[in-house]
């Protein structure tokens, strides 16, 4: 599904990501963990086309994807959420989700200006679908709300609903549980499981180890921009390098 080969990104003299390689198999949940500043979000930004790699390759479904623009990657079936919420506060909740379905609707300006036949019908279907997705992620009661009226936890779910509206093959979640309490984290965990079960391949960056260990088929550990370790949850838990990076090396 996704293959990253010797990927590097430098900002000036800072090597944010250095020579990272890994593979995400379709239908799995893949986690990227590491201390703050390890390069996790940079890695996400490289994969989703927000940054252009300094060197290395990214293959999405066996085709090159490195340096391609986010909207083209979206067209190819990639979607994501953001660590810092990127919700449109100038729109209603359901419209935010409908933006996610952008690529499946007629987006001609002229068709919009004159409400050409077909558009209204497709748009109504899109609204119903968005309402279903809001229900699916657990924010159904905000159906008629404005985005600015929603709580932080609800907005995180709304972002997931928007990402799902694109019907992605690969979904990247950047810290889905950040800022959430225990109950909310458990709910997000169940939601990610549901999403994965529906056939979407998930890659997530997360600090909550319980969630990561419960969900992940495969874990990649980054430290100072480099790959520190890779393996199943059990392997990572026992890995001395990982323990050292998280707890401080026992010198």
């Amino acid at each position: 599904m996704l293959e990253v080969r010797n990927l590097s990104k430098t900002f000036g003299g800072v090597k944010a990501v250095q020579d990272v390689s890994f593979t995400v198999r379709g239908g799995t949940i893949h986690a990227v963990i590491g201390p703050n500043g390890a390069g996790k979000t940079t890695l996400f930004n490289l994969i989703t086309g927000i940054y252009t790699p300094t060197s290395g390759e990214i293959l999405f479904e066996d085709a090159p994807a490195g340096g391609e623009s986010p909207d083209r990657l979206a067209r190819r079936g990639m979607s994501r959420t953001f660590q810092n919420l990127q919700v449109c506060m100038n729109m209603s909740a359901i419209e935010n989700v409908m933006v996610g379905a952008h690529l499946r609707l007629g987006t001609s300006l002229l068709a919009g200006l004159f409400r050409l036949p077909g558009l209204a019908k497709a748009d109504a279907e899109c609204r119903d679908e968005a309402a279903r997705l809001m229900e699916f992620v657990g924010v159904g009661r905000y159906r008629d709300a404005h985005a600015s009226q929603m709580s932080y936890g609800a907005l995180k779910r709304l972002e997931i609903a928007r990402a799902l509206a694109a019907k992605p093959k690969l979904l990247l979640l950047d810290e889905p549980a950040a800022g959430l309490n225990h109950t909310e984290t458990a709910e997000i965990e169940a939601l990610i499981r549901k999403v994965a079960d529906s056939g979407v391949t998930v890659v997530l960056v997360e600090h909550d180890m319980k969630l990561v260990m419960n969900l992940s088929d495969h874990i990649l550990v980054l430290d100072y921009g480099r790959k520190l370790a890779e393996g199943s949850a059990a392997e990572i838990r026992e890995n001395p390098d990982v323990i050292a990076a998280y707890l401080g090396a026992s010198a």
């Binding site: 623009s69 986010p70 909207d71 979607s79 409908m98 919009g112 509206a165």
Partner: protein, 312 residues
């Protein structure tokens, strides 16, 4: 079935435009109403760019000028039919706007403001300096607008024309913001990076809405040229651009009806303030300042929030 608020607003606008002539005692008031409708149409178009998509333009009077002078020059110097001249002006505006939009709209915030400001000034300078064609600072007369052999003469006929145009522009804008393309525009304003990740080609949308708003300004420029019958380069100038932006901001960003209200207020105020003899500009500025301090989101959205808050 309950009516959408925008539909109610649109019907209210249509009603007001229909009964307004009954309340207009003479040509002076008709003239005022016509100018309001022209400004309102431009402001609604400009609001799609500024209020909805979040991209500033301080050069739209330049596009207004292209339309106005294309109509004036092509009809009076080359004898083209006025309808055709209007279309040529609109196409020329579209081509120019499209050509400059891509590099310009890569800029953000203050830099975009500067670039559009520069564009407007260049267009204005061209109009002032091409004396052979435009008459330069002295201006030039414009023939009456005629369509299928019928001339539009007199305030009443013009009122009908501009009222219909305003209704058309308003309906189209309301349609657009409720359509997928309109949501993409608003998403660019709300969270551009999220819009891109959702598959919105943000550059293409910015360019298209820039061209759209420029064409609306151009067409209204043509209309104004024929209506007023005389053109001076001021119509393409910096102050006119600022005036248009002020209508959008004052009435309410991302509010179609707010733009109409902003245009009405800004067209009316100078007339009402003429009593202040020489101080009207000062009072005008003061009113604008106070409005933005006490109604920071613009007149209509602030009032709407206030009333919604009380109702809840």
């Amino acid at each position: 079935m309950t009516m959408k608020p925008t539909t109610r607003g649109f019907l209210f606008l249509a009603f007001v435009l229909a009964v307004l002539p009954l309340a207009l005692p003479n040509g002076y008031y008709y003239d005022l109403a016509i100018r309001m409708a022209i400004n309102a149409s431009i402001a609604v178009g400009l609001n799609l760019l500024i209020g909805y998509t979040g991209q500033i333009s301080l050069g739209h009077a330049g596009f207004f000028g292209i339309g106005a002078y294309a109509s004036a020059i092509l009809t009076s110097r080359y004898g083209l039919p006025s309808g055709l001249a209007l279309i040529i002006g609109a196409v020329a505006t579209a081509v120019l706007a499209f050509a400059v939009a891509r590099p310009i709209l890569k800029l953000k915030g203050h830099y975009l403001a500067m670039a559009t400001l520069g564009l407007g000034i260049i267009l204005s300078m061209v109009i002032i300096n091409e004396t052979e064609l435009t008459g330069g600072p002295d201006g030039m007369p414009v023939d009456a607008f005629s369509l299928f052999g019928m001339q539009i003469v007199g305030e009443q006929a013009w009122y009908v024309v501009v009222a219909l145009i305003l209704l058309l522009v308003t309906r189209a804008a309301l349609n657009l913001i409720d359509a997928p393309a309109g949501r993409a525009l608003q998403a660019i304003h709300g969270a551009e990076i999220a819009a891109r990740v959702a598959g919105v080609d943000t550059t293409s949308f910015k360019v298209r809405v820039f061209v759209l708003s420029a064409v609306v300004a151009s067409v209204m420029g043509s209309i104004t040229a024929h209506y007023v019958g005389f053109l001076t380069p001021g119509v393409a100038g910096f102050f006119h651009s600022i005036e248009l932006v002020t209508m959008v901001v004052l009435g309410g960003m991302a509010s179609v009806f707010g733009s109409i209200l902003g245009a009405v207020v800004l067209t009316l105020l100078p007339q009402l303030l003429s009593a202040f003899e020489g101080w009207e500009t000062v009072v005008f500025g003061l009113i604008l300042m106070l409005t933005m301090i006490f109604l920071p989101r613009g007149i209509l959205p602030t009032l709407r929030l206030k009333f919604a808050g009380r109702a809840a």
